[in-house]
């Protein structure tokens, strides 16, 4: 395997919890480390070839270690909490359409509103009659 081919597997290896040449070179073919549900897969044959490469290529071994540190940093990032009052503001927004429609009706110009009101009165009168 070339350096580029080996490095193309680094993400999957790290998702499978394999971070050293020894770890990469052991274990049966499996979809991931115990408890891993990422969907990461590196075939056992590839893992053996990668382990052999890492044992002799210090640059790739260094690259894998640096990538592992990068991921460790990412995984240590604290989640960001939604701002206080967020839920209330969402609930206010989803309930707003009714009040908006009412407001629109109230400010509708007379030349639009009056004919509609007249039509409503006629409709009600017919209904009563």
């Amino acid at each position: 395997m070339t350096c580029a081919e080996v490095r193309s597997h680094f993400s999957d290896l790290l998702d499978q919890g394999l971070t050293s040449a020894e770890a990469v070179g052991t274990g049966a073919e499996s979809p991931g480390a115990p408890g891993d549900d990422t969907g990461a897969t590196v075939r056992a044959a590839d893992r053996a070839a990668i382990a052999a490469h890492l044992a002799t290529c210090s640059e790739c071994a260094h690259e894998l270690a640096a990538l592992r540190k990068t991921l460790a940093l990412l995984h240590a990032v604290d989640p960001v909490a939604a701002p206080i009052g967020f839920v209330d503001r969402v609930l206010e927004r989803v309930s707003r359409p009714w009040s908006r429609r009412l407001a629109r009706w109230l400010v509708r110009p007379l030349h639009v509103k009056l004919p509609l009101e007249a039509a409503a009165i006629v409709a009600v009168s017919i209904g009563v009659a």
Binding site: R7, S8, F10, S11, D12, L14, D15, D37, T38, G39, A40, H62, E63, A65, A66, L67, K69, T70, L71, L73, L74, H75, A76, V77, D78, P79, V80, A81, A82, P83, F86, V87, R89, V90, L91, R93, V94
Partner: protein
């Protein structure tokens, strides 16, 4: 990788049944996850709130049509990702906000913690490195490494092949590793 809380089991059934309290429960259960993705993608709390609110407004509007083929959380991540990417691509979007405020905070659970100054510097570098990734790679990295989604879930949320998710994630991680050379060696 971070553990994600599972979807509350009866929430979808309650939403579909029109339980008036169910929507509020949904917003409470997912607000932080939705906001977190938005803030990582947009780099601004104000814009993230705008988009996160819009996510829930759309959910409210379309919950009746949600078939439940995917998990509720995957659906929410899908809407959030799509809105963020559309917003980022909008020509009307204001100047990018990344860099104004460092929105990355690191947990410190090591036995030999670095000084506050060192940690702030790492947080600043990491914030900038994430912000400078291309949008289509950043979203995959955020969903995988910050939100803890599996490849399949990301593929479903972004409507991509799993292979595309893997290659974008790999490139994003390698780019990040290069940008963090100073910290990771």
């Amino acid at each position: 990788v971070r553990e994600r809380p599972a979807d509350p089991p009866s929430l979808l059934a309650r939403l579909r049944a029109g339980d008036p309290a169910a929507f509020e429960d949904l917003v409470r259960a997912y607000q932080h996850r939705v906001f977190s993705v938005a803030v990582r993608m947009l780099g601004s709390r104000a814009e993230a709130e705008e988009i996160a609110q819009e996510v829930f407004v759309r959910v409210h509007r379309s919950i009746g049509g949600f078939r439940g083929d995917a998990a509720l959380s995957t659906w929410l991540y899908a809407i959030t990702s799509r809105l963020c990417l559309t917003h980022l691509a909008s020509p009307r979007r204001r100047v990018p906000h990344h860099g104004e405020e460092v929105l990355v905070r690191l947990r410190d659970d090591r036995s030999d913690p670095p000084s506050t100054l060192e940690r702030r510097e790492v947080e600043r570098l990491l914030h900038r490195a994430i912000a400078e990734l291309p949008d289509d790679r950043r979203i995959v990295l955020v969903l995988r490494d910050l939100e803890g989604l599996a490849y399949e879930e990301i593929a479903e949320a972004l409507d991509l092949e799993v292979g595309t998710v893997k290659s974008r994630l790999h490139r994003a991680r390698m780019e990040l590793r290069e940008r963090l050379e100073k910290v990771t060696g």
